[in-house]
């Protein structure tokens, strides 16, 4: 391992002499900024989740339009810092292995609660698509009888989540909570989000939707679990935390992880899975925050997270700036024009995502943009997709320019023994 990087760093130096000899920040400083921003973002996500938890508790103890709307507002606010953390996901195994618990999507919501008849029942892909655990205190799973008489965080996290190995069985995280706060959006491509009445949480005779005690129990358990999951991740990014240790184990691999996170989120995940697919299918529920109609914000803050990681500057939810030596500085030292290209493309994407956001906020919701033949909506979404695809090309150029090419090769687990060949 050590010898391998000696070889590559000698090669990198060879290139540096022919390139620009500006004052490059050390990779260690760049990684430190990156980790500090992660720490701040996950801490902000945790703080916002605790506000959500307080609002959910208020809703459960005193259900009303006011407490339901307050809980919904807290959920929307909680998404702002969390979505900006998504850029950490694909580059850091510790995040990627964990994130399914908090942000899994899309989900077959019939697993959780009652759904409209148009939803259908169990499918060939998912036998539990209409399980409705809120209405069913016991059920069969893989030949075992599950006791769900009390809905606990353990039941959700360890038994129900990804039940039967199906990813669409999302029992925990933001989107499960979103479903409980909003309910299904039955407006198709028309205006309006999910419209669950607060009476779904009223105990006693005025309960609507049935099983209001179990629904409240579910919402409370899922919110508690979100808080504890975020607490864990925030700890990993503190000084001495495992995520920092992994990142700093090898500086070049660490810088590569930053770029991997930026590129994978931009291209395969956001431009592909989350934006282009829904457009191609013209499906109003094929949007990231389909119950709350908050998709425009989710996309926007994902994009912002990519940009602020590159620039090495994040503004906390209380206004505190966090920043330092950045990947951008590192690129400037190697190829200033490539840095300018990256900044221009990130700004271009943010303008496109900003147009989706501002248009949605003006009343033209994301699910309306997805409608077949809606040229304005298609142009808005494709503007974001094209920006994200275009910026990925420049991220690839940076991987090449910083001579990080060999990292993936080094990290390849398909090789029998990558170190052996260098001895």
């Amino acid at each position: 391992m050590t010898r391998f990087f000696t070889v590559t760093s000698v090669l990198a130096l060879g290139f540096a002499t022919t390139a620009v000899a500006a004052d490059a920040p050390s990779k260690a400083d760049v990684l430190n900024t990156y980790a500090n921003i992660a720490e701040a973002k996950y801490d902000d996500s945790l703080i916002a989740a605790k506000s959500l938890q307080a609002a959910v508790n208020a809703l459960i103890s005193d259900p009303s339009d006011a407490t339901l709307n307050a809980a919904r507002a807290a959920w929307v606010a909680a998404r702002v810092p969390y979505q900006q953390t998504e850029v950490y996901r694909f580059g850091n195994a510790i995040v990627d292995d964990w994130e399914g618990k908090v942000n899994a999507w899309p989900l077959d919501e019939g697993l959780i609660d009652y759904v409209d008849a148009s939803y259908g029942g169990p499918t060939g892909e998912n036998e539990f698509a209409a399980l409705n655990v809120i209405a069913n205190p016991t059920f069969e799973l893989s030949g075992k009888t599950i006791d769900a008489s009390t809905i606990t965080p353990e039941l959700l996290g360890e038994t129900l989540h990804e039940a039967d190995g199906i990813e669409a069985n999302v029992a925990t995280g933001y989107h499960a909570i979103e479903f409980l706060l909003w309910g299904q959006d039955l407006n198709g491509h028309g205006a309006g989000a999910g419209n669950r009445p607060y009476t779904d949480f009223v105990q006693g005779d005025d309960c609507t939707g049935g099983n209001c005690d179990r629904r409240a129990q579910y919402l409370s358990a899922a919110t508690d679990l979100l808080v504890s999951d975020l607490e864990w991740m925030a700890d990993q990014w503190k000084q001495g935390g495992a995520a920092r240790a992994e990142l700093n184990a090898n500086e070049s691999a660490g810088v590569s992880a930053i770029l991997t996170g930026m590129g994978s989120l931009s291209y395969g995940e956001q431009a592909g899975e989350r934006m282009r697919l829904g457009l191609m299918l013209n499906d109003p529920e094929e949007e990231h925050d389909c119950f709350s109609d908050n998709t425009h914000n989710s996309h926007y803050y994902d994009g912002l997270g990519i940009e602020n990681v590159y620039l090495g500057h994040y503004t906390r939810t209380d206004g505190t700036p966090v920043g330092g030596a950045s990947l951008s500085d590192l690129v400037i030292a190697t190829d200033p024009s490539l840095d300018a290209e990256m900044k221009a493309k990130l700004a271009n994407t943010m303008r496109a995502l900003g147009q989706i956001k501002s248009t949605a906020e003006a009343g033209f919701a994301y699910d309306q943009m997805l409608e077949r033949g809606n040229e304005g909506g298609e142009a808005l979404i494709m503007g974001g997709v094209n920006g994200l695809v275009d910026q990925t090309k420049t991220i690839e150029r940076i991987v090449t320019a910083l001579e990080l090419d060999q990292i993936e090769f080094e990290g390849s687990d398909s090789l029998d023994n990558p170190n052996a060949v260098f001895h």
Binding site: V7, T8, L11, G14, F90, G100, P106, T123, G124, E125, D164, G165, E167, A168, G263, S264, L265, S266, Y267, G268, E269, Q270, G272, E273, R274, R276, M280, L281, N282, D283, R372, G373, T392, K393, I395, E396, R397, V399, T400, L404, D405, Q406, E408, F409, S412, S414, L415, P418, A420, V421, F422
Partner: protein, 336 residues
């Protein structure tokens, strides 16, 4: 052998940058990409004509034309860049995997509503990609669920609209490639590829992504886990084409790999040997729709096939990429 190749690749990256990539770029475009898309355009024309002549799902001529055209698509399905991505053409040709059952949903909706969009090519092209292309056509031809649904006249017109739409997309990609080819063979400021290295990266990425898709998706999806195999997730299982797709894609990727490694005979030989082993395993597997994933013995053989593809991937990423001085970049499979 491998050690020497790797050591050389690390000591000679400057040489790698100085490589004249033009012969390989030109060869790959002219002998791999352009003929592949031309064949697809022609086969889909035959398919559209066959559907027009006889839209009966049981028609031998229609089914034969479907198989030939689908073969030609699978043989170029790794070339997902440039013209295939314009207007979502490739997705409209082949929407798979369909993790949430969008295709049956789209077909049911079109047929039940007797959606008039099928009457015009332009309107049909606006409809969901899940109800278009080879995988939607497959369900119309082979899934009993759709042999009786709605009216026979509408089903017939839908099959004809699908075949025509497939042909229009294939022809559009083929026509665009005549122009797009120059981007790869003359990279520079006017091309999406700024340098020969970037053009080469696109082709290398197609190889890596194609191998990944065949191993992880074409095989991995039906395999599921040992306790929970998923035979119904096999690609095009209704027309029993799942294994055929693996063999076709490996054959096409072998051709691409040979061209990309033309300047490095040792690596070319390593790759070719690994492809021969994988294709041999595929050919000896008598399990067209991967139903065997549900039995211990069948699963073992499919796992062995998957492993042999992973062996090719290891050579491509550990020997070919570093020697060419090219990294795999990002691909569409990078998300979850």
């Amino acid at each position: 052998m491998r050690a020497i190749v790797l050591a050389l690749s690390l000591t000679l990256p400057v040489g790698a940058f100085a490589q004249d990539r033009l012969p390989i770029l030109t060869d790959t475009v002219n002998a791999h990409i352009l003929p592949g898309y031309a064949a697809l355009a022609e086969a889909t024309q035959t398919l559209a004509t066959a559907a027009q002549t006889n839209c009966d799902p049981m028609s031998a001529a229609l089914r034969a034309a479907y198989h030939t055209a689908f073969d030609d698509w699978i043989s170029i399905s790794h070339l997902r860049f440039g013209p295939s991505e314009v207007d979502d053409r490739a997705f409209a040709l082949a929407f798979w995997p369909d993790t949430k059952g969008f295709t049956p949903k789209a077909l049911t909706s079109l047929i039940s509503a007797e959606d008039a969009a099928i009457q015009s090519s332009a309107a049909f092209a606006e409809t969901s990609v899940a109800g278009r292309g080879f995988f939607a056509l497959e369900q119309m031809l082979y899934d009993p669920q759709f042999s009786q649904l709605g009216s026979e006249d509408y089903r017939c017109a839908l099959i004809q609209a699908m075949a025509k739409d497939i042909n229009l997309n294939a022809s559009a990609i083929n026509a665009d490639w005549e122009v797009y080819a120059a981007n790869l063979t003359s990279p520079g400021e006017t091309s999406p590829y700024r340098s020969e290295n970037e053009a080469m990266q696109e082709l290398y990425k197609a190889l890596i992504t194609g191998l990944e898709f065949t191993a992880e998706t074409r095989l991995g999806r039906p395999m599921g886990t040992f306790d929970r195999p998923r035979p119904k997730r096999a690609e095009a299982r209704r027309s029993e084409r799942s294994l055929r797709h693996v063999a076709l894609s490996l054959t096409a990727l072998r051709d691409l790999a040979a061209r990309l490694s033309a300047d490095h005979p040792d690596i070319a030989a390593d790759l070719d040997g690994a492809f021969a082993a994988a294709i041999g395993r595929a050919q000896s597997l008598d399990d067209p729709a991967f139903e065997g994933v549900a039995t211990a013995q069948g699963r073992f053989r499919i796992e062995a096939l998957q492993q042999s593809i992973n062996d090719i991937r290891a050579i491509a990423s550990a020997e070919l990429g570093p020697t060419l001085g090219i990294n795999a970049g990002f691909n569409s499979l990078d998300g979850d």
